[in-house]
Amino acid sequence: MSVFIIRRLLQSIVVIWVMSLLVFGGVYLIGDPIDMLINPEADQEDIEAAIRALGLDKPIHEQYWYFLANALKGDLGKSFIFSEPALQLILARAPATMELAIVASLMSIMLGIPLGMWAGLKPDSIAGKSIMTGSILGFSLPSFWVGILFIMLFAVMLGVLPAGGRGPTTEFLGLQVSFLSAKGLSHILLPAVNLALFKLSLVIRLSRAGTQEVIHQDYIKFARAKGLSERRIILVHVLKNILIPVVTVIGLEFGSVIAFAVVTETVFAWPGMGKLIIESIDQLDRPVIVAYLMIIVFMFIVINLLVDILYSILDPRVRLQDIRA
């Protein structure tokens, strides 16, 4: 077990190191670092001072060490636009993204499991068929376009929900959140549904497949023979058994929800990390771009590592396979 964790930990460190090389290579070697890292509005004197301060007059390998040493200290440069440390800027936007991702994930579970079970219990009914058709659409519709349709339908034509922004936030455990006030809820509803759509389709498929498998098991037949009500069989015996794989997959997919939040946040002007990175790319705010890329990769590696460790605890086969390899 500990061998497995140490091995995975070392792998993760190697990946982060390779990422730092890639980002460094991308920003410092492919482009002109002076152009990218120094405010284009600075005058000649400032530019020279900045070149010295950033160590751009030194050879490449020394520059890389400089970048790495600063990054390890948590210094990823200052934003040109906001003149704030890039790291702080991104972390300040993180709660908004997290809230959106968590609400979307919960939504896909809460809606997806009942719908998927319905489709699994009555696969030939009209409802069951339309749920499955809906889930195919959820997979193939580009999510940004669905977001646009939502805005057109609910904000422009019906005028019942706001088209974008986060609305007023309430303080909760020291963080600013939207979901506690009615106004905030109306702001988070559309983006969260939009972000949840893809995962919703996934959950529907998983719970449908799970239900169809479980329903033919002996313990369900036994429960029926015992004379339990159909409601109790479905809500207790079937639900419990399909819950484990579904919740595992949603946990695994949480990282990709955060990644896809970039699209949803841009469509709905949701002030999270994803919107920040797109604005920064647009305004060539390189320090923020570098910081975002390093943070998101770090976050992904942590999520992947946790998932792998969790899996190796739940399923000993994974662990054994890795030790043999």
């Binding site: 991308g26 940004f144 890329l293 998101i296």
Partner: protein, 307 residues
Amino acid sequence: MSVAMNEGSAPGAAAVRDETPLRRFISDFCESKIAIAGVLGVLLIAIIAIFAPWLSPTNPYDLATVDIMDSRLSPGKQMMSGVTAFLGTDGMGRDMLSAMFYGLRISLGVGVASGFVALCIGVCVGLAAAYFGGRVDMLIMRVVDLQLSFPAILIALILLATLGKGVDKIVIALIVVQWAYFARTVRATAMVERHKEYIEAATCLALSHRRIVFRHLLPNCLPPLIVVGTVQVASAIALEATLSFLGIGLPVTEPSLGLLISNGFEYMLSGKYWISIYPGLALLFTIVSINLVGDRLRDVLNPRLQR
């Protein structure tokens, strides 16, 4: 493909004498009406994309004919030049229908080109992993697994954030995103095929590695590759549209469907729906058509479902 079809040939109920594998494949494929609709859709898209300059009513990028007075006309209105804009015009006064024809051309071109290059790279890498095994296999599959543990959009975002905008950049990003899927598919199939007798026979004949891999192993790995290739082209088109919508994909001089949707987005709130909705419908039609064909190919080419 014909080699692969011979492999799992089952005694069909309707045993026609002169039935070739290709003919059987086509008749199997056509059993599903919805798949035929998909093929027709794909053909329509391909024709529009190839012949866009001749099919579109106006040339939306000829500055001499585009009139700013025509901007934001609603669908069905007549433009200054006398041509009817069936789907309206955009903010610059370009006919939406023509812009969509040209946009489809760019979207499809980017999707197919990146899919094809990714297929070539993925096939070579995957075959190498399966054929040589051992260290090579382990190293390649580590990289593939690692890459597939990140969502495609994130990898594309990382690449485009460091490389910048441009047609070449987005094609590179799409190739990097896709090659791993091909490599994994071809490796999985080749691992099974490698131990079959015909490969052993070829080895006994002392054929060169290259000949065995490309003339014997590769043709037998084709069916799953065709399926993955179809699905990947659809997802590449969707990803390109998403990235272009975010403003980090194609430059404004190469307006794909995604960019057209993005341009229309700013007029959305004032109720000018057509600038954004119609390119979106075209995108949806494209993706769904390709996916329908892909789904059917998966069913027909899957030996386990062989009737």
